[in-house]
């Protein structure tokens, strides 16, 4: 059906999006790549110049680097486990016939709409504060010593906050998937005498597998670049205890002005993200063929 004319019109209509995104993707990344092989310090320009791979070596030999990678992975994996397992359980609970389902859904989904700095500050000051937080109140009520979350378990605290933000997302998507499960299939399984566990294992879980994959992949993209939550609560500390890769790159670039090292870190972050992106694209692409 497509004539020559409509085809060139289509190209014309697509051009702005494609060109803008192309520039957006290529230009800054090219700069970063270039900087990653340079010694460049805006505050001390005397020694600027090409340095080969030494930025990567420096970044690599920085003890903070390994820790930041480990912290990044710890955040991604822990939050994924909490949100996926919690999301499945919550979705199954909300899929039951309950009174006031609409309101319950709204309450559960709400944290997702809270901007990261607010979420972080609220948890930091009102929930986890060692003196005035609700957790401290609860601990004192039971006669225990309140936990100094950000001093002693900074990474766990960050993970809890981020998990709170993403649990609603996982729940909502898994619930959507669950609701498309054929009711008759469930009934048939029940009539055949399948118990709750075997129904869950052989019917519900396989049905949700696609949605679970999507949740894992999409959350991974966002979780790899957790930033505001760390900035507002622990500022990466104590030491580097809660510094992830994005936060380390930010520190190197805008606080220490070690642009070369920061850029090398940025490139490493790109490589990490690309590994994940590869799997995301495969999953989403498969769906496009349907």
């Amino acid at each position: 059906m497509a004539t020559q004319q409509t085809r060139s019109l289509a190209r014309f209509m697509m051009a702005p999006s494609v060109i803008l995104l192309f520039i957006w993707m290529i230009v800054p990344l090219a700069f970063t790549l270039w900087f990653s092989f340079q010694q460049y310090n805006p505050l001390n320009p005397i020694r600027d110049g090409f340095v080969g791979f030494s930025n990567y070596a420096l970044f690599y030999s920085n003890p903070a680097f390994l820790q930041s990678i480990l912290n990044t992975l710890a955040i991604v994996v822990s939050v994924l486990v909490i949100t996926v397992v919690g999301g499945i359980l919550l979705a199954m609970l909300l899929d039951q016939p309950i009174w006031g389902q609409g309101i319950v859904r709204i309450l559960v989904i709400s944290p997702f709409f809270v901007m990261p700095p607010v979420a972080a500050l609220v948890w930091k000051n009102m929930i986890m504060h060692p003196q005035y937080g609700v957790f401290a109140d609860i601990a004192r009520f039971f006669g225990a010593d309140p936990i100094d979350w950000f001093g002693q378990h900074p990474l766990t605290a960050v993970i809890l906050i981020v998990a709170w933000q993403w649990l609603p997302f996982a729940t909502l998507i898994l619930l959507t998937s669950l609701q498309s499960l054929d009711g008759e299939q469930k009934e048939a399984a029940e009539m055949d005498g399948a118990g709750f566990l075997s129904r869950f294992w052989y019917l519900t879980l396989p049905h949700m597998s696609r949605a679970i994959t999507v949740v894992i992949l999409i959350q991974t993209i966002f979780l790899l670049s957790v930033y505001a939550e760390i900035l507002v609560t622990t500022n990466g500390g104590p030491g580097y205890a809660s510094t992830n890769l994005p936060f380390l790159v930010y520190q190197k670039a805008l606080l220490e002005f070690k642009i070369g090292q920061a850029s090398a870190g940025g490139i490493i972050a790109v490589i990490l993200a690309n590994i994940v992106a590869f799997f995301v694209m495969r999953a989403v692409g498969k769906n496009l063929d349907k």
Binding site: A2, T6, L9, A10, M13, M14, P16, S17, L21, W24, M25, V27, L29, F31, F35, L94, Q96, P97, I98, W99, Q101, S110, P111, F113, V114, M115, P116, P117, V118, L121, V122, N125, W164, L167, F169, I173, T176, S180, G183, K186, R210, V214, I221, A228, L231, V232, N235, P246, Y250, A253, L254, A262, V270, V276, M281, A283, V284, G285, N287, L288
Partner: protein, 274 residues
């Protein structure tokens, strides 16, 4: 055919669901409650009933000019979304209605730009913004947020447009409708719901974006994300004011979010889960 549900089963499920839901919602609820306390009350220990004072709200505005940040958030999120729609609607349209062999590749490539970690281009963008005077400007940040969300906008619109049956277009053409009439009278009415949902979700995403909005602004263009982050280094205890500022920052988007649950699933999963 409805499943037989016992009242007992429903009561248990309801109780469990409400307890969990209230626990999850609690930090937000407690923030709202605390915002109606005085600073003294706020640090006196756990209490669910506030005195109902609104002094914190007045003080937040008086001390920090809260409204300016709010206005910036509105301008940035709405502006970037409208800009993204203007650019994305034609693209999504042509991909949905005259797809070529490469359409899928282009869509996938667009999605891939979304996966680039922001931190990898932090310094180049910072330099470009500084040297062109865009640092702390609404225009620069609007463009930035537009670029970040453009792939999602194109994708969402594409999945909506693809559901508009092509036969209707052909029928209109047979009846002699010009391209212009086709767009105004046939396509637009069918596309409006999809465009509206896309707009809603993207305003939410832009409103909550908390990397570029914090790093590329200082005062003039700073939206609520930057404003709230400035509370992170506390000078004294001001739980009530913090709560009031937080409540104001999340309220509009929370309400919008409640209306966009369905679109959220679709938009954030790139149409993979509906």
């Amino acid at each position: 055919m409805a499943r037989a549900v016992t009242t007992q089963h429903k009561t248990i499920a309801t109780t469990a669901a409400w307890i969990v839901a209230l626990l999850i919602f609690f930090p937000i609820l407690y923030t709202i409650i605390t915002s109606f306390k005085s600073e003294q009350e706020a640090i006196q220990g756990f209490a669910l009933i506030p005195s109902g004072t609104t002094e914190s709200y007045a003080e937040v505005q008086a001390q920090s000019g809260y409204f300016k940040f709010f206005l910036n958030s509105v301008i940035l999120s709405v502006g970037s979304t409208v800009l993204a729609l203007l650019i994305a609607v034609p693209a999504a349209w042509s991909m949905a209605f005259s797809p070529t062999k490469r359409t899928k590749d282009i869509l996938m490539w667009m999605l891939s730009t979304k996966m680039m970690p922001a931190v990898a281009v932090l310094f180049p963008i910072y330099l470009i913004f500084r040297d062109t005077g865009l640092l702390d400007s609404r225009i620069g940040l609007t463009v930035m947020l537009m670029l970040i969300n453009l792939p999602i906008v194109v994708w969402m619109l594409y999945t909506y447009f693809r559901e508009i049956p092509g036969e209707i277009l052909e029928a209109a053409r047979m009846d002699g409708a010009s391209l212009w009439n086709e767009i105004i009278y046939v396509l637009t009415p069918m596309a409006v719901p999809g465009i509206a949902s896309t707009m809603l979700l993207n305003i939410i995403l832009a409103w909550n974006e908390a990397f570029w909005t914090i790093r590329l602004t200082t005062t003039d263009a700073a939206p609520l994300t930057a404003f709230i982050s400035s509370f992170s280094s506390p000078q004294g205890l001001f739980w009530a004011k913090l709560s009031a500022a937080s409540t104001l920052a999340i309220a509009p988007i929370l309400i919008m979010g409640w209306f966009s649950q369905k679109q959220l699933v679709r938009g954030l999963t790139f149409g993979a889960v509906k």
